[in-house]
């Protein structure tokens, strides 16, 4: 279950502790990288591990191994949901999913708050976070436009901060 690093911990146990394919230093470096590159971090992590071990075929195999079963599960649930609409019990299924959706929104917000408390200790990065959250989340700006401005700004601010 890939909730908030749970899967990464499981991957670490398999790859580092049980099979000894790489050491902890290598794993953690790959873990950091997988968070920095765009895309789902667990998928990126599997690319990193697969690439380290077997190059391109290793990376493809690792991604396939991680995603094939979840894709099947998600598809089956989604098709069940769509077919249940208008059938007896369909309304309850929708209501249940709306409740889960409400919780899942809280998962995103809560994770953001938790990460912010862990990693943001200063005013300037906190402002970067707030500008991004509000411009996209409240004002409805496009992701591409906001990143085109805020990625260079954040890099510049981090660089200025480092020089002091």
């Amino acid at each position: 279950m890939s909730f908030g690093g749970g899967l990464a911990a499981w991957i670490r146990r398999e790859v580092v502790q049980r099979r000894g394919w790489m050491d902890d230093q290598q794993f953690l470096s790959g873990y950091a990288l997988s968070q920095l590159v765009p895309g789902a971090s667990n998928v990126n992590l599997s690319v990193f591990i697969g690439a380290q071990l077997r190059g391109v075929p290793g990376a493809v195999a690792a991604v396939a191994g991680l995603t094939v079963l979840p894709v099947a599960i998600v598809l089956v649930l989604g098709v069940l949901y769509l077919h249940s609409q208008g059938m007896p019990g369909g309304a309850s299924f929708s209501t249940a999913l709306a409740g889960m959706g409400a919780v899942a929104i809280g998962l995103n917000l809560g994770t953001g708050i938790r990460l912010g408390r862990l990693h943001i200790r200063r005013l300037v990065p906190a402002l970067v976070t707030a500008v991004i959250a509000i411009s996209i989340g409240v004002l409805g700006f496009r992701l591409l436009h906001v990143l085109a401005v805020m990625l260079p700004v954040s890099l510049l601010l981090a660089w200025l901060d480092q020089r002091e």
Binding site: M1, T67, A96, G99, N108, I132, A133, G137
Partner: protein, 173 residues
């Protein structure tokens, strides 16, 4: 059909490379494109798909498979999956090569420090945009508020909370 497949490929292929901090950050754009621009799915369907992709194992961005499936059947699901994960995986592969060679480079530390507030901002933005894009009753708002606090400050099990949210809306909604 072909047009829809191309639209899916362009939409998710583009978002794939913008998904800093995980697929979550792309949800607002995904919602706008799939619901408002292309009318592939309705707003309640988007929330239901979001809930399914969160409750099931695997990355949350598997929501693209469901959007693709609704828009253009199994071919749509396949195209959406490849478009969402292909470009970012290629980038991750290239980055893994470069990363390996620059373990102590100053630029690497700089990039790590600059991307953290961006990724966190995108995570918060996705939550806010999902609230905005969904017709919520007050019970659902209360559930979201409670879940936010629970995820931010406790170690409660996400699956238990998801199930709890379903029960609350079934009873009170």
């Amino acid at each position: 059909m072909i047009v829809t497949l191309v639209q899916l490929a362009l939409l998710f292929g583009g978002l794939s490379l913008l998904a800093f901090g995980g697929g979550t950050g792309t949800l607002p754009d995904m919602q706008r494109a799939a619901v408002d621009v292309h009318h592939w799915i309705t707003a309640p369907e988007f929330l239901a798909f979001f809930a399914i992709s969160r409750a099931a194992p695997g990355p949350g961005s598997l929501i693209v498979v469901l959007i693709g499936q609704k828009a253009a059947g199994l071919a749509g699901a396949l195209v959406a999956f490849l478009a969402m994960f292909g470009p970012s995986c290629v980038l991750a592969y290239v980055a893994a090569r470069v990363w390996h060679r620059s373990a102590h480079a100053p630029w690497r530390i700089l990039v790590e420090r600059a991307l953290a507030p961006v990724a966190i901002g995108l995570t918060l933005a996705s939550g806010l945009a999902l609230i905005r894009g969904t017709e919520h009753g007050w019970v659902a708002y209360a559930v979201t508020a409670g879940a936010t606090l629970a995820f931010a400050f406790t170690e409660l099990n996400p699956l238990a909370l998801l199930a709890g949210g379903a029960v609350v809306l079934l009873v009170a909604g």
